[in-house]
């Protein structure tokens, strides 16, 4: 089944029917009037306590998120910290903002700090390897373990979502009690070969394990006792060498940018990649920042009528087709294709309006 066919099947299963709109009998207009009769907030009462430190280029959106948080206080629905993650970058792209100061311990201290707040569960049994990490420095994330044809994905979430997720999983199957890493857990059965275990919250997060590949329940039960909480150093050491942690960002960036022309004023030490990333994610972050900076340079030079600089930027952008890191990434996802499309358009004299979103500038 092709992607197109699959998408069509999913589209056919859409629970919403547009015809519904024609049967509302004006209820939507009534709602509009009801909403507009509610007093608006006239001012923003100070920063929300949950508001995370924001990078300078995101300041405008931080203001809005704070404002929305204030609205949420009134309606009692949403928190500011989650909204802050939904920000598109503000204009203009001002270059990477750099990592926080590492302190006396250098990059490794950054890494230790980054994993301090994580559940840090590892499968302490021969044969299991970490292949993928998402999140890591944020409030939720995923770490994937693989052993032959079987995999086990551990996803952690903020503890406030536990009840929601637990109730949702009750739709999957009846829970069966288990103990994982010393925590009470519930095992859910998706099928005879697919299982999950949800641990009760601890230290602000809860963890859900989910099988990948074909498992038996006996195999799943046999692995659970080998899952244990590790200290920060052990956890970091268990990550495979290709996972780039904050302490290694600059060294790794320098490695993958060897054949990439650097935009004027671009400092590898200012490359900004939060969390732990596999090579694909890391490559996307880093090449994105370089390309965004080249596009900014092209726009500057074009405005200034600096033909030599325009040509240089266009040539650098065209060369992206040959950047080793992008070609290495190309089998795994579409980011290189998007980058090449944008780079080609800019080099051809037209900056796509969506380039910042497309590249993550």
């Amino acid at each position: 089944m092709t992607d197109e066919h699959l998408d069509r099947v999913v589209r056919d299963a859409d629970p919403f029917r547009p015809e519904l709109i024609g049967h509302l009998g004006g209820a939507e207009q009534t709602l509009l009037e009801e909403i507009m009769s509610v007093p608006q907030l006239e001012s923003v009462p100070g920063p929300a306590p949950e508001a995370a430190p924001a990078a300078p280029r995101r300041r405008a959106w931080r203001r809005l998120a704070t404002a929305v948080a204030a609205a949420a206080v009134v309606t009692g629905v949403i928190g500011a910290s989650v909204l802050l993650r939904d920000q598109p970058p503000a204009e203009p792209w001002a270059g990477p903002v750099g990592l926080p100061e590492a302190g006396a311990g250098g990059g490794y201290q950054l890494d230790l700090k980054a994993v301090e707040g994580l559940p840090r569960l590892l499968i302490q049994q021969d044969g299991w390897k970490v292949t993928t990490v998402y999140g890591f420095a944020s409030e939720s994330g995923t770490i994937n373990f693989v052993n032959g044809a079987r995999s086990l994905e551990m996803t952690w979430y903020q503890d406030e979502h536990y009840d929601d997720y637990y109730k949702d999983r009750l739709l999957v199957s009846a829970p069966q009690p288990a103990t994982v890493a010393g925590r009470e857990a519930a095992v859910f059965t998706y099928s005879a070969s697919d299982f999950a275990a949800m641990l009760k919250p601890q230290d602000g997060t809860f963890v859900e394990l989910r099988t990948g590949g074909t498992w038996t329940r006996t195999e799943f039960d046999a692995v659970l006792p080998h899952i244990a909480r590790a200290d920060a150093e052990t956890f970091l050491a268990a990550l495979p060498p290709q996972i780039v942690t904050p302490g290694r960002v600059h060294d790794e960036a320098a490695k993958i940018l060897t054949d990439v022309p650097m935009p004027p004023g671009f400092d590898i030490n200012s490359v900004d990649v939060a969390g732990a990333n596999d090579p694909y994610q890391f490559g996307a972050h880093v090449t994105g920042q370089v390309t965004c900076t080249w596009i900014a340079e092209w726009i500057r030079a074009d405005k200034a009528g600096d033909d030599a600089a325009v040509k240089k930027a266009a040539s650098a952008l065209r060369s992206s087709r040959n950047w080793k890191v992008l070609n290495d990434m190309n089998a795994e996802g579409d980011y290189p294709e998007v980058l090449w499309e944008v780079a080609g358009k800019v080099a051809g004299g037209k900056v796509p309006e969506w380039y910042k979103d497309g590249l993550g500038c």
Binding site: A13, L20, T75, D86, D168, L171
Partner: protein, 194 residues
């Protein structure tokens, strides 16, 4: 500073342009269609209260989806609301499935297939499912999905590829096989009082 009337006019425009999309978003993700009325009311109430500070028009729909996600999360947790708006809309949506509520014929043959696909979707990881449904149902591009979910576009593309692969495995080449059916993707029956 623009006048109150300008803000009101803009809000009316935003509401008119986005009501259907937000209702669809909510209907797709709640257990009972009438609950979509609460979600839509809450989302637009947040937007109305902050009408003076909303993002530009070309960013507003993604922003509303982002708000809707938070409202839904609260709804799933049985969260309570201070306001109770949209009662009439709730009544219009009451009655089970959308086609039934709207008096629209729903060809019976399609139902098992749709339910089987929804059951398979329910078995995806939460983020993978949301990436796929925002792509197919809401018609968003990866960069837009990324904005709504607070992920990078690169992560979204990877997740989308994984979600399709997993869904393909789950439904096989015969999506008509009903399998284990869930009519709701992520949402337990709401517990909050009516």
């Amino acid at each position: 500073m623009s006048s109150g009337t300008e803000h009101e006019d803009r809000f009316r425009r935003i509401y008119a342009a986005n009501f259907e999309a937000l209702l669809a978003y909510a209907v797709r993700r709640v257990a009972q269609h009438e609950d979509a009325a609460d979600v839509v009311a809450e989302v637009f109430l947040v937007a109305w209260r902050r009408a003076r500070e909303l993002p530009p028009d070309d960013e507003i729909r993604l922003w509303l989806y982002g708000v809707a996600r938070r409202v839904l999360a609260n709804h799933h947790r049985g969260g309570t609301r201070r306001e109770r708006l949209g009662e009439r809309l709730r009544q219009r949506l009451t009655g089970g499935t959308a086609p039934a509520a709207a008096g629209i014929a729903d060809p019976g043959l399609e139902v098992p297939q749709r339910l089987a696909v929804r059951a398979a979707l329910a078995r995806l990881g939460d983020t993978d499912r949301e990436v796929l449904t925002l792509t197919v149902w809401e018609g968003l591009q990866p960069r837009e999905v990324a904005e709504v979910l607070g992920l990078s576009a690169a992560v979204v593309r990877t997740r989308l590829s994984r979600a399709r692969t997993r869904l393909r495995e789950l439904i096989g080449d015969d999506p008509q096989a009903p399998g284990h059916v869930f009519d709701v993707l992520t949402v337990p029956a709401p517990e909050e009082g009516r």
